[in-house]
Symmetry: C2
Subunit: 756 residues, 2 copies
């Protein structure tokens, strides 16, 4: 893994700082300075316009368009897709002095600085601009999204003439004329425009999908100015001509309400009496609460300190459970790549973060799957299966992946939903969720699993033929170990869930059985298939075989592949990637992490040492899995080496594609890397466990998680672990294998020798 950092931002524990503007970094920096509040996201583009390379991206969760791809073809092969569309640019601004537009691509500026403050969510940018006519103006741009009123976005521009008095023109608009950059197309039809004194509004809907979006903005200026209306086909706004005075700052504030509700009257009212400072303070309080409950502090490693806080900040910006109809796109709300589609990453990587930081958000992520169950059932029917087949990539619940080899062969989105339900239930004990929603999803997924699989020729084994596991470098294989393992787990968990429901709530069980027409023979069938599921394994060496025949595949020494051949998808013939024992991410190690307790350390070691050298980590989720397991195997240096770029993947643009947006779901893996890796947390057993270790170069670190209504703070020092509750009265857990019942009194536990 030859990944090299592109160091650009200043290191600071709470802030992301850009000092001096570099055009080459502009589009990637836009991604880093993205703001989001789950409802909407806005890239850190320069709202005053920028004629260089950039992506003026403004996105809304659940606002998407569709496209048909090619002719109708084979059954089950998707030829329609859905993608998040670039929506209203509600920050659009133009600033003109002496007929010269401010444009950082060409304007003369100095003292440039941009700061994202993760303590309050405020993005600030300041510089001094000198016009060709010699006028110097200090400009300060601020923006933030309200975290508690998610429809609100706020902008403030402060301008100070440094060496003159005179007119400054500021145009502020709401612009639906924005292009989807990849498709080079505008997807909006404007339905309504209206301007009033100090206020303008515009509403539009997406072509084809008819997603409605309203944007209303109120404008305040503390200077002396004249104002006029501005209107174009897909834009509306105001032009202010401000009579600015030398050395006197003048501010313009815009507070915007964006909403998918068709209620202009109501929408308008929300911001009538809005006030900048009040909104910022509320949002700062919201963040304060986040950090109190979820902060990770690293002593002695400023880069990772900044990195992990950036990860937590972005996770919370992207999703915090505001809406049970939302999911998490692979790039969050920070770019067009991956079309805003959500993948299995949600349940596998993001869910643990939310389970231990925001249980309601975790529940709402699962509710997305319940709300889209009907689509998953249609997809199963398309694939000649019963039950529900969850999409590999989706916005609305429909399968959006038009590569049949992924969409039809990958079962892990479906089994990840089952895993998510199991994990959430285990940590929350939310039996009501299970009864009302979870059990139904489990039944439909098990139905798919019982019809998608087959019996081997000799009738001895059940399993899945022609599948692709999470490791997408083994395309069309039989008995993928992960797929079979998860299939077995899902059917067994479904049976257990139904049995428990039958015992605990006979009436609810009866209703479910009637609703879903389950009979005993079907449950018996799941039982038989789960019992006979083939989990390929070399018993003598305790080595799982990633799929039937994997051990016989030609060997490739991945360390000998020249660095310029990466990413392989671009440099190797497509089919060549699949013809050897190289893996993109680990399938066997993955389930050994997810169900860690089922495997002995010896078994883990054998499998880790076999698969690790075969993995090229072309999935950004892969290194953290290896780091966590390396920690468990007390391979401390290896653990740290795999962790190396987890927290700063985006800040240091390791994958060189930061311009496309953030690796939002990888960010979740970075969190897991610390908590499950160095913290040694295990949550798959009967009780929460911790076995913290400390990386060589760190003086100490602490983390906070919420579990069973308690906020647990764990502080790891060189020789000891201090653990106690910040909220709640009692939490039972194991530390280094020993039972503790923690209270608000801090326990100090010496780190055992073997963990040092």
């Amino acid at each position: 893994m030859a990944k090299i950092a592109d160091k650009y931002f200043k290191v600071n524990p709470w802030k992301i700082i850009e000092e001096g503007f570099d055009k080459e970094h502009n589009q990637a920096a836009e991604s880093i300075f993205s703001l989001g509040n789950e409802y909407m996201g806005v890239r850190g583009y320069f709202e005053e316009g920028y004629s260089g390379k950039g992506l003026t991206g403004s996105y809304f969760n659940g606002i998407y368009a569709g496209a048909k791809l090619g002719e109708d073809g084979y059954k089950g092969v998707v030829n329609e897709t859905e993608f998040m569309v670039n929506a209203v640019n509600w920050l659009s601004t133009r600033i003109t002095i002496d007929s010269e537009n401010l444009d950082l691509y060409v304007s003369s500026i100095e003292d440039y600085k941009r700061v994202l403050d993760m303590q309050n969510g405020l993005l600030t940018r300041s510089f001094v601009w000198t016009t060709k006519s010699g006028k110097k103006t200090k400009a300060v741009f601020e923006r933030f999204l309200s975290m508690n009123q998610v429809h609100i976005g706020v902008q403030r521009i402060r301008l100070t003439p440094l060496n003159y008095s005179g007119n400054i023109e500021i145009k502020m608009e709401a612009d639906f004329g924005i292009l989807h950059q990849m498709h080079k197309k505008n997807y909006w039809k404007v339905l309504h425009k209206n301007a009033e004194p100090d206020f303008f509004e515009i509403a539009a809907e997406t072509v084809g999908t008819h997603k409605y979006l309203y944007s209303g903005s109120r404008i305040w200026c503390d200077g002396s100015y004249t104002v006029s209306d501005q209107e174009e086909e897909k834009k509306i706004g105001k032009q202010l001509i401000i009579a600015a005075k030398e050395k006197e700052a003048v501010s313009v504030i815009r507070i915007t309400w964006n909403d998918e509700k068709k209620d202009a009257e109501g929408n308008r009212k929300h911001i009538e009496n809005a006030e900048y400072e009040e909104l910022l303070n509320e949002t700062a309080d919201w963040w304060k609460n986040v950090w109190e409950h979820s902060d990770i502090v690293i002593d002695g490693d400023d880069e990772n300190q900044q990195g992990i806080r950036f990860c937590i900040f972005q996770m919370m910006q992207t999703y915090h459970g505001a809406n049970p109809g939302n999911n998490i796109g692979a790039k969050g709300l920070t770019g067009e790549a991956y079309n805003g589609n959500a993948f299995w990453d949600t349940e596998t990587y993001c869910l643990p973060f939310f389970v231990f930081n925001n249980l309601e958000a975790a529940r709402n992520l699962l509710m997305f799957r319940y709300r889209t169950l009907e689509e998953a059932k249609k997809r199963a029917a398309d694939l000649d299966c019963r039950g529900a087949f969850y999409p590999i990539a989706t916005i609305s619940g429909k399968e959006c992946c038009n590569l049949w080899q992924h969409a039809s062969l990958q079962l892990q989105a479906s089994t990840a939903v089952a895993y998510g339900i199991w994990f959430y239930e285990k940590m929350s004990n939310d039996k009501a969720f299970l009864k009302e929603y979870g059990a139904e999803m489990l039944v439909e997924i098990s139905r798919m699993l019982a019809t998608r699989g087959d019996w081997s020729a000799d009738g001895k084994y059940y399993g899945y033929y022609c599948v692709m596991g999470p490791d997408e470098f083994q395309m069309m294989v039989n008995h993928n170990c992960y797929t079979n393992f998860m299939g077995k787990f899902t059917m067994k968990y479904t049976i257990d869930t139904l049995e428990e429901l039958c015992k605990e709530d006979a009436q609810a069980y009866k209703e479910l059985v009637n609703k879903l027409s389950i009979d005993e023979s079907e449950i018996a069938d799941w039982h038989t298939k789960a019992e006979h599921m083939l989990i390929p394994r070399d018993d003598e060496h305790k080595l799982y075989e990633q799929h039937d025949g994997f051990f016989k595949l030609p060997h490739v020494d991945v360390d000998k592949i020249p660095v310029e051949e990466f990413p392989l998808y671009h440099h190797w013939s497509y089919d060549r990637i699949y013809r050897n024992d190289m893996i993109k991410q680990p399938d066997v190690l993955m389930f050994m992490l997810m169900f860690n307790h089922m495997f002995s350390e010896e078994e883990l070691k054998v499998n880790y040492e076999y698969y690790e050298p075969r993995c090229i980590h072309e999935s950004s989720l892969s290194p953290s899995v290896h780091s966590i397991l390396a920690s468990q195997l007390k391979k401390k240096e290896e653990a740290y080496s795999f962790f190396r770029f987890a927290t700063r993947m985006d800040l240091d643009n390791y994958n060189r594609n930061g311009d496309e947006g953030l690796h939002t779901t990888s960010i979740a893996a970075a969190w897991m890397n610390i908590i499950y890796g160095f913290g040694g947390m295990r949550s798959d057993g009967d009780i929460l466990e911790l076995s913290p270790t400390i990386p060589q170069g760190w003086k100490g670190y602490q983390f906070r998680i919420t579990c069973r209504n308690c906020v647990l703070k764990v502080q790891v020092e060189k020789d000891c672990v201090k653990a106690g509750l910040l909220e709640g009265s009692r939490l039972e857990l194991k530390i280094y294998g020993k039972d503790y019942a923690l209270t608000q009194q801090t326990e100090t536990i010496e780190i055992p020798k073997e963990w040092k």
Copy 2:
């Protein structure tokens, strides 16, 4: 295989007869009445225009256009294609009486009859047309393509007023305004138009590919008429107003020269003195010669008699070696389906027909592969291989298949070229071809085979990973038995060829080695890989395994699949097709037929009985392979049952897609079915062999083939076989395992009991 005949044409040993016109059958009948002479092909459309469903198709070998399919994607995945375009309608005619156009979709006609005479290649259509004004006209349309002057097409229309004297208007044009039906697009740009008395010409080129085509026509009329020029954007022609007399036939003849040469002057001259009867007689002589050398006579089965002659007729129409740059499209020159692309069928199914009927044509088919060697080398490079990777589907030599799972995983087009060279050399002893062209192709194919394959993990076996064999129902497998077998054959044959060349012509060997930079170590590498090639086989049962792991696949009882689920590609989820032990066509049986001598009858029986019940014959080439091997295994009824629709696949429209064109390459399989099946011919050993059997219902049959400059006639009766030479002096061969040296004296051999 639930295939049901759609009986429409009258049975006749030498003619295809349509009596009475049925609109429902029109487009399929157009395919049946297609004429071709390798250079050009013209469907049996009504030249006077037809407002019902039909395909006015006029095609030229090697005239094609290209299209881009989708964005640039993965390396080696094809996103451009080429397809045969519908070209000039040089037969275009309009006939008008009393302002009423003749149009068989709406006109009142009686006594309709259409006849294709396979003895002279003449297509005749006659009927009586009654206009709304009550005028009755007998119309006779004739057309044929000259077989010895392949640029010439001939049309004659004879009209006899039965109950009136008066004007008949006939418009004759050359029309480049024709649409490609599937793409709904015209691909022609007209460059030149010119009209002279009784003559008109037009030239155009294809958009993008710049393929030039000239069409010049001379017109004769034996009645009294006036003439005027006709011209539209992409058309030119003449209108004749004929003063016809009651009961007096008047004829209009058009003789057309079509040519890709840019030499209007020269082109024009070719037809200046052309004469209808002379051209027809020459063509009839050409066909007479064909039948004298290649006829198959069946006594006691009129349907198969007609069927097999239709097959031979179409094969010879499609290809007879006129041009070494041509190949044979899957539909010949009879329709747009399969884009006019040629597949591995050429070497595997068509080559035997030509080797035994027209050796020069066989050689020219292989020359197509030599001429396209550079493209195959580019393709290999795209696929990260050395050497040459021949395309699965092609017109110009470029890969035209944009389904990567076929284009990148199927190696059989490449190994089929090697097989074709081997087979041609064996039967022709044409060492010059081998030296000048064959050896170079073999070297480049072996280079590909030595780089596309891999060694198994334990280093013991070489073979091909992630391939699809000819059986396209097992998509992405390792060690496909056919692929490995053919890979081994190809590398060994290449080594043998080089060794022999070195021995026989040291200078030529040296030149080749220099030209291709071959060194000893490379040859040694092929040797090692061929020796270690894994041919999966259950040695205990002598059963070959179609690929590594095939025996473990879930079993599907193909007889239990409901008939309405066929074709499976339309009714099953795409991925579901690949998840079991069902096969589309036989891979193991295929190489057991191609290299029949390498396998004992016991071995053949075991493999036949294992694979036959697993095969659904979704390839139209599959039944003949089964029939031939069933004959060898003395399963006479089974052999006849698989033969049942081989000769009449198109005549009886078994696949219900006759409207798209003929199954030209299946037609070749029908010929093989009789010669290799019932005739029991084997050509893969050191000497030609025959072991004829006779189907139950046949009184007798005879066939003629050309071999080593001798024309062999074999007559099979109920009890005996009579064999002798029609041309040539001596031919050594085996009959029922016994050696014979045949002369022009007929030998009579009793059929041994076990073959009865």
